[in-house]
Symmetry: C2
Subunit: 339 residues, 2 copies
C-alpha cells in the first residue's frame, strides 16, 4: 500500500505539503505542487479514507435502515438515498432489520461505533422509540423516512398519506360508491394509522358510515387480504362493500384475486384502489388504480436532509417534509357503480 509518506519521499517534500496539494488547503509553489502530483500519478496513490476519517471524525457514510429490501416498496427509496448520498460524496450502507429487534440494535451500533455518520430509518415502529430517543439525545444525526414515530423530535420525510387516502375515498364517492371498505396494514406504523384515520375522516366528512366489519386488518399481506376479501364476497350483496381502499398494492392484488376466484368481477362487483403504485400495478393485465407514493423522492430528500444536518455545525429545529401523493387511475376502480 502506498501512503502519503511514500509520496512525500518520492517528491522530496514533507507529508504536509502533499496533503496541502491534495486538499487544496494552502498555497504550494507550482514546482512543488507539480512534483507532488507527478508522484501521485506515478505511484498511483489514493488517500486512505479510514485514516482520513479517523482524523476528521467522520466516514462520509450513511446507514439506511429498512425492514427488508426485498419488499418492493424499498428499492426505489434506497435508490433515492444512494443517488443523493453519492452526489454529496457519501456512501450508503444497507441495514435490513427483517423486523428483528437484534438487527435494529446492530444498526444503532453502527452509528455509535462511528461506522456511519448518520442513520436514515425507513422501518421505524413505535417500539423503537426508546432506542432512537436515546440516540437523538446523544446528538447523533437521524432522519425518519416513510414512517415516523410519535413524540420523537427528529427530522422526517414522509408521504402525505392523509391526502392520498382522501383522494381515493373521494374518487370512489364521485363514482357513486357509498359502501366503501378499507383493508389496513401493520398496526404499529404511522403509515397505517394515517391512512386509517384519513379514511375515517374522509368517509365521515362525506356523511358515509364506517362499518367495522369492512375495516379489515391484513397486515399488508397478500394472503390475509385474499382471505378477508373472500369472506366479504360470501356476504349477500346488500351486506357487501362495493369498493375497497387497500393499504398497499399487494393487498389490492389479494382482494382482486379473491373476488375473481369467487366468480365475481373487478371492478363491476368490487372496485379496488391500492397504495404505493408498485411497478406491476401499471402492467396490462393488472391495471390497478393506486395512490402513488414518491418513494424515490422520499429517500432522496431524507438523504439530503441528513447530510445537511451532518455538515451543518449549528443545530436547528427538527423539520418534517411531507411529499404529495397522487391517485393514478387505471381500470380496477371502475367507471361507476351499477346494478
Amino acid at each position: 500500500m502506498v501512503t502519503i509518506k511514500d509520496i512525500a519521499k518520492h517528491a522530496g517534500v514533507s507529508v504536509a505539503t502533499v496533503s496541502y496539494v491534495l486538499n487544496n488547503t494552502r498555497y504550494v509553489s507550482p514546482q512543488r505542487r507539480e512534483r507532488v502530483l507527478q508522484a501521485v500519478e506515478e505511484l498511483n496513490y489514493v488517500p486512505n479514507a479510514v485514516a482520513r476519517g479517523l482524523r476528521a471524525r467522520n466516514t462520509k457514510t450513511l446507514g439506511l435502515v429498512l425492514s427488508d429490501i426485498t419488499n418492493p416498496f424499498f428499492p426505489d427509496l434506497a435508490k433515492g438515498c444512494e443517488d443523493a448520498a453519492q452526489a454529496a460524496g457519501f456512501s450508503l450502507v444497507m441495514l435490513n432489520t427483517n423486523e428483528q429487534r437484534e438487527r435494529i440494535i446492530n444498526a444503532v451500533l453502527q452509528i455509535r461505533e462511528g461506522k456511519v455518520d448518520g442513520l436514515i430509518i425507513a422501518s421505524a415502529v413505535k417500539q423503537d422509540l426508546g432506542i432512537l430517543q436515546e440516540l437523538v439525545l446523544e446528538g447523533y444525526p437521524i432522519v425518519l423516512a416513510h414512517r415516523r414515530i410519535q413524540d420523537l423530535q427528529v427530522d422526517s420525510v414522509v408521504a402525505d398519506n392523509f391526502q392520498g387516502v382522501t383522494s381515493a375515498v373521494r374518487y370512489f364517492i364521485s363514482l357513486g360508491h357509498t359502501r366503501i371498505a378499507m383493508f389496513t396494514g401493520v398496526d404499529e406504523t404511522s403509515v397505517n394509522m394515517e391512512r386509517k384515520e384519513g379514511f375515517i375522516k374522509a368517509m365521515t366528512d362525506a356523511g358515509l358510515p364506517i362499518r367495522q366489519e369492512w375495516m379489515c386488518n391484513t397486515l399488508g399481506d397478500y394472503q390475509l387480504a385474499y382471505n378477508a376479501s373472500a369472506n366479504l364476497m360470501r356476504l349477500p350483496w346488500e351486506e357487501r362493500p362495493t369498493a375497497v381502499v387497500c393499504m398497499n398494492d399487494m393487498v389490492a392484488l389479494g382482494v382482486m384475486d379473491a373476488v375473481e376466484d369467487r366468480g365475481y368481477q373487478v371492478p363491476a362487483d368490487m372496485a379496488v384502489i391500492g397504495f404505493d403504485d408498485l411497478f406491476f400495478a401499471g402492467t396490462q393485465r393488472i391495471q390497478l388504480t393506486s395512490v402513488r407514493i414518491p418513494r424515490y423522492e422520499i429517500g432522496q430528500q431524507a438523504a439530503r436532509l441528513i447530510i445537511d444536518r451532518i455538515q451543518r455545525t449549528k443545530t436547528m429545529e427538527p423539520m418534517e417534509i411531507v411529499l404529495p401523493t397522487q391517485l393514478v387511475v387505471r381500470k380496477t376502480s371502475g367507471d361507476g357503480i351499477y346494478r
Copy 2:
C-alpha cells in the same frame, strides 16, 4: 465521545489493559477486568470502528456493485449478501452503477481508498475487464456474482444458465413444440450469452432448426419485447413460433401482453417461459412458467466467498460456484401444442 482513554482513567488502568479486556487477547486479573467492564458500562463506551480499522487495516465492510437495485432481480441477491455479511460481522455498502462508467469507477475507488475490504460485483460487463483486471492484479479481493467475465481470473458465483435454458427448451419439446423462439437480453453479459448458446445447443441437440427471425434481441426490456412479439404475431401461423423462451420475466410479460392485445391467447397461440421467477410470476393473474434463479443464494455465497478470501492469509486458486436453476411450471407454458 468517550474513548478508551476515558475508560482507562475511570478504571485506573492503562489503555492496553482496557483493550486486552475488551478483546480477550491477554490475561487480565479478575479485579481489574471487573473494573474495566464496569467503567465501560458506566460510561456507555463503544470502541470506535474507524480507529480500529485504521490499525487493523480493514473496515469489515463489503461493497455490493449492482446496476440498479430497482431492478427486481437484485433485491434478493442484495439481501443474500447482507445476511451473509451480517452473520460474519461485516456491513454492506450498496453501489448502484446505473450502468454508468463513472459510477463503476467510483465503486472501484471505494476499495482503493480502503472504505471496503472487498467488492461483490453483480453488474459486470465485458467493458469492465480492464478496470477489474487491474484490481485483481493489485491483490484486492473481488468476487463476481450472477454475471461473470471471460478471461478474468477471479472467484465467481453464478446460476447454471445453461441448464436453465435447456430445461425450458426440453419442456417445450416434451409438449410437442418444434417452432421455438428465443427473446434474448443485453448482449455484453455472460448471462445472455450462456442462455443464448444454451438455447442453440438444446435446439440443435433435439434436431430442431434455429430461425434467425425468431431470435429477437429485446435488451431485457418490456416494451421492446412487446414490439417484437407483436411483429411475430402478425405473421401467418406457419411462420410463427408456437413457443418462446424469454430472457427474463419482464420480457415474458411483454410477450404475453402483445399476444393478448392482438387477440390471441397464451398459452394456446403462444406458450411462454420466462427467466428469474420474479415474485409476480407466481401471482394468480399471471401464472408465468419461469426458470427460477437462486438469487438469494447467489448473493449469500458470493459474500461468504469474499469474506473467506479476505480472512484467509494464503492465496488460493479462484473458484467458480455454479448454482442449479429450476423450471417452475405454471400456466403460460401450456399443456401441449394444438390446432
